[in-house]
């Protein structure tokens, strides 16, 4: 660890000279040593099993082992979005040969950088060409080539490449590839074994299929979150924060719908390849959209509307299905506590009671709160969490975590990226 220094920051200019790896060296918390982990297994009397895992699983050994998708060839073409990129990176990480195809001008994602700050872009060692961090992070195990499918020669090249491919990932606009003679319809004629997967925002067909603005701008992720009810259902309600000041529908910090679509695309692709190789020898057309893939995992929200016409409301850091299962403010941040079964529920209480004896009287002795299911009622959540927060407000995250860990409760503070890394 470098020594601590006093730094004076009056403007952003002052911070620029602080942006160097020497100031914040990696790793902040290094990966654990085998000895350290051994002790942990020892405590649980699973030392021998721990040793077996140690001998077989360490990340450092992965390059001595086989790759599961070795030999599969993937073409990935698309702009702007993370869905097809994430799918390609998953396939690449499992050992497939992935070729990312960009137009000669490059994917505009390369230019994106937080708040437009060029100083956070990285330069290629050879050419000095700058690239945004997000793009570098998603571009895992992928080769980069350029090809313009607008030109006739480009289309010919694409077809020639597709002859060799097992998978084509299409992250372009609806029908774009098809219009240029390089969509599934045409490619499947020259390569019937091809699995072709479109990764769209809301779909390549249907009344609300992906749109472009009059000026050619694409629809990108938070649109998926906004049109499948994710954004409406996420965030703090009016009862907790005023509208316009935090009490609003909220999008996820990242383009999470794209990630979800990407992983489902990869799953569907591998399933289609399995069917091809095991049974039929035929490829097929697949379509995954960000809005629908996220809707697929939106708990039961829309099914609930079908059950009794409930429209899910926002519940902030609380979960309407479980008690306790939430985060609430504590002295220096937020503390998450989880444990619904009777065993955990009473254990949480015993922990809190040590500092705050009223908890037992108010919560454990409330006859309404004795039944697991009943505890999920809204007023039960309000009561439980109000009293829990009364305890939390006097302690900070580390204290709360230690106390709860003593009782083996799955609890943890909200950590920021520097605390996670």
């Amino acid at each position: 660890m470098p020594e601590k220094r006093d730094v004076e920051i009056n403007s952003r200019q002052d911070t620029l000279k602080l942006i160097t790896p020497e100031i914040r060296p990696w790793p902040v918390s290094p990966p654990p040593s085998p000895e350290e982990v051994k002790k942990v297994y020892g405590k649980r009397k699973a030392e021998e099993f721990g040793q077996w895992l140690e001998d077989n699983m360490r990340l450092e050994y992965s390059f001595r082992k086989a790759e599961s998708l070795q030999g599969f060839k993937v073409l990935d073409i698309g702009l702007w979005r993370l869905g097809h990129k994430f799918a390609a990176s998953l396939l690449g990480q499992a050992g497939a040969e992935v070729i990312a195809i960009e137009p000669p001008t490059g994917d505009p994602l390369r230019q994106l950088t937080p708040f437009g700050r060029e100083e956070y872009m990285l330069a290629d060692k050879e050419t000095g060409e700058k690239c945004g961090l997000g793009f570098i992070n998603e571009m895992r195990n992928q080769h980069s080539i350029t090809l313009d499918v607008e030109t006739e020669e480009g289309q010919e090249l694409f077809k020639k490449l597709a002859v060799h491919a097992d998978v084509v990932l299409d992250g372009m606009l609806p029908g774009y590839m098809d219009e240029r003679g390089v969509g599934y319809r045409q490619l499947s004629q020259i390569n019937p074994r091809l699995v072709y997967c479109s990764v769209a925002l809301r779909g390549t067909w249907g009344p609300m299929k992906d749109r472009v603005s009059k000026f050619g701008q694409w629809e990108l992720d938070p649109f998926a979150q906004a049109t499948n009810s994710y954004a409406h259902n996420t965030g703090f309600p009016q009862d907790q924060l005023p509208r316009g000041k935090g009490g609003d529908p909220t999008r996820a910090g990242s383009w999470v719908a794209d990630y979800i679509a990407g992983e489902q695309a990869a799953v569907n692709i591998l399933a289609a390849l399995y069917w091809r190789d095991e049974f039929s020898g035929e490829g097929q057309l697949i379509e995954v959209s960000s809005a629908e893939a996220l809707m697929d995992i939106l708990d039961f929200d829309i099914s609930w509307y079908g059950f009794n016409a409930s429209i899910k409301a926002r519940t902030g850091g609380w979960d309407p299905n479980l008690n306790q299962y939430e985060w609430n403010p504590c002295r220096d941040g937020y503390m998450m506590i989880g444990g619904q079964s009777d065993r955990l529920w009473y254990r949480i209480g015993m922990c809190i009671e040590r500092d705050f004896p009223q908890f037992g009287r108010l919560i454990h002795e409330d006859p309404f709160l004795k039944e697991v299911g009943a505890r999920n009622a809204l007023h039960a959540l309000i009561k439980t969490y109000s009293v829990t927060t009364r305890w939390l407000r006097e302690i900070n995250r580390v204290e709360a975590e230690e106390k709860l860990m003593d009782y083996e409760i799955a609890a943890g503070p909200i950590l920021f990226i520097d605390e996670t890394c």
């Binding site: 942006i19 790896p21 914040r24 654990p32 077989n56 699983m57 086989a66 599961s68 937080p114 437009g116 997000g134 570098i136 020639k160 002859v163 609806p174 067909w205 249907g206 009344p207 603005s213 009059k214 000026f215 701008q217 938070p222 009810s229 994710y230 954004a231 703090f236 924060l241 005023p242 935090g246 609003d248 910090g253 990630y259 992983e263 591998l270 399933a271 399995y274 069917w275 190789d277 039929s280 629908e292 893939a293 809707m295 995992i297 939106l298 039961f300 929200d301 099914s303 016409a309 429209i311 479980l322 985060w327 998450m336 989880g338 619904q340 505890r375 999920n376 799955a410 943890g412 990226i417």
Partner: protein
């Protein structure tokens, strides 16, 4: 020649000439999934799982046609069966000994098409039964604390001796490392690994770290397990060997933070929340409008919250048009260049101007004016609107299912995880009561006599 395409028949010629939209509609043919084969034909998967994360991994396989046997605790079942939003949505019964207890909607969507077996596998007498299942299966997902299955002689160390083709997944919270025994939930992964720290309004907007409405890290991780399993299946086709995957859930939360990790690693900058705006594009965010679309509705979600519009005009031409729609020439002059608009203070400026313009308008009016001007805008939809949306209905991703046990159930999942033209996913049933398939599996698959099964049942071993 590689590039040449010649249709072989008249039908094929017509198919080639149809508009793309029509072609897709026909290729995916929503509603007729069951007339096509399944992808994972013949795969049998065991699932010793609970909650959402690990069940969803097996659920994905079951939707793709694998035969998934879910093994639950006798009588009680998966803890998720006792979970329901505000304790109000249940389907009955849970088990034949508990007709007054239902299965809550929390169990929905992760458990389609599974077979329901009950077994108390830590009873030594049941272990052989379990081994017999392993001999006939392709793999297993489990979520117990590390070492638990090993103590019961059911870990990969033992099972690979019985069945070398076996693929074994341990789905845990933290995975390898000092926290390996720490339990995990979706909410813990969101909180502990970065996702929550970038979701929600920034301090200056008055907000807090915000939990995703859904158990996004459970579901997302479950799908990633399914991906790992399928990759392992492909590798097994080549080598005949299984593998064991040790899967850590919290990593998903870190992986889903875009540039946050490399940004921190290189520059020591900690990514923060940025509310409903975007850190890399502007205009690309959700704005508040003055009036609700349904001021007279009964449901408060319609009445009070139908007020938000997602607006996107980050390219120069779009932004210029947007400024002309809201009649603010100064705004355009000030932020002509894309790069200037994305700056933090510029974003505050721009979104404030947009919300000021929308302050006397309803959500649908704002969306319409912008869309008519050729700009991308869309109302922020609630569950009712998604249900009523023609788009999802036509695509078959929101549809009613006539469940064999429970009757009409509205589906939002299964079909929405992706369409496959030749081997589509499908939902045959949402779930069955605890142990509903005991007889089929213990008697027909494993060959135990009914008397034995009844004996186990009486002892509550199954």
């Amino acid at each position: 020649m590689a590039g040449e395409i010649r249709p072989k028949s008249k039908e094929e010629l017509e198919e080639m000439k149809a508009p793309y939209e029509e072609y897709c509609r026909k290729a995916f043919d929503p509603g007729n999934e069951c007339s096509k084969p399944v992808s994972l034909n013949g795969i049998r998967w065991l699932s010793c799982t609970m909650y959402i994360f690990t069940p969803h991994s097996a659920g994905n396989l079951a939707e793709l046609g694998a035969e998934v046997i879910k093994i639950e605790i006798p009588r009680m079942g998966d803890a998720m069966r006792h979970t329901s939003p505000f304790n109000e949505a249940y389907l009955y019964p849970l088990h034949d000994t508990r007709p007054m207890t239902g299965t809550g909607f929390g169990f929905m969507n992760a458990n389609f098409n599974k077979y329901y077996l009950s077994m108390d596998y830590h009873i030594p007498e049941m272990r052989d039964v379990f081994y017999n299942l392993v001999r006939q299966s392709d793999g297993l997902t489990e979520l117990y604390r590390p070492g638990t299955f090993d103590r019961w002689k059911m870990s990969y160390r033992t099972l690979q001796e019985i069945n070398p083709r076996f693929i074994y997944v341990w789905g845990g919270g933290f995975g390898y490392g000092p926290k390996v025994f720490g339990g995990s939930y979706d909410i813990l992964a969101q909180a502990h690994a970065g996702f929550a720290s970038i979701t929600g309004m920034h301090d200056f907007m008055g907000g807090h770290c915000t939990k995703s409405s859904n158990w996004v890290m459970d579901w997302g991780s479950g799908t990633l397990i399914a991906y790992g399993v399928l990759a392992a299946l492909h590798w097994r086709r080549k080598t005949g060997l299984g593998t064991m995957i040790e899967f850590s859930q919290v990593q998903t939360s870190t992986r889903f933070t875009e540039y946050a990790v490399p940004l921190y690693g290189r520059f020591g900058i900690v990514r923060q929340r940025w509310g409903n705006w975007d850190t890399q594009l502007c205009v690309h965010g959700m704005i508040l409008c003055g009036k609700s679309d349904f001021p007279d509705a009964e449901n408060p979600q319609d009445k009070h919250d139908a007020r938000y519009v997602m607006v996107s005009a980050f390219q120069d031409a779009d932004f210029k048009e947007l400024c002309s729609v809201i009649r603010s020439k100064e705004l355009y002059e000030k932020y002509r260049v894309c790069k200037d608009r994305v700056e933090a203070m510029a974003q505050v400026d721009i979104y404030t101007a947009l919300e000021k313009w929308a302050a006397d308008k309803s959500r649908s009016a704002v969306a319409k004016v912008l869309t008519d001007a050729g700009i991308l805008a869309s109302p922020v939809m609630n569950d009712r609107e998604v249900y009523e949306s023609e788009h999802y209905r036509q695509r078959g991703t929101v549809r009613w299912l006539d469940d064999p046990l429970f009757g009409d159930v509205l589906l939002q999942a299964g079909y929405s995880a992706g369409m496959l033209s030749k081997t589509p996913r499908r939902v045959n049933w949402i779930w069955r009561p605890v142990g509903a398939d005991n007889l089929t599996i213990y008697r027909d698959l494993l060959g135990y006599p009914t008397s034995k099964i009844e004996e186990w049942y009486a002892k509550a071993w199954i």
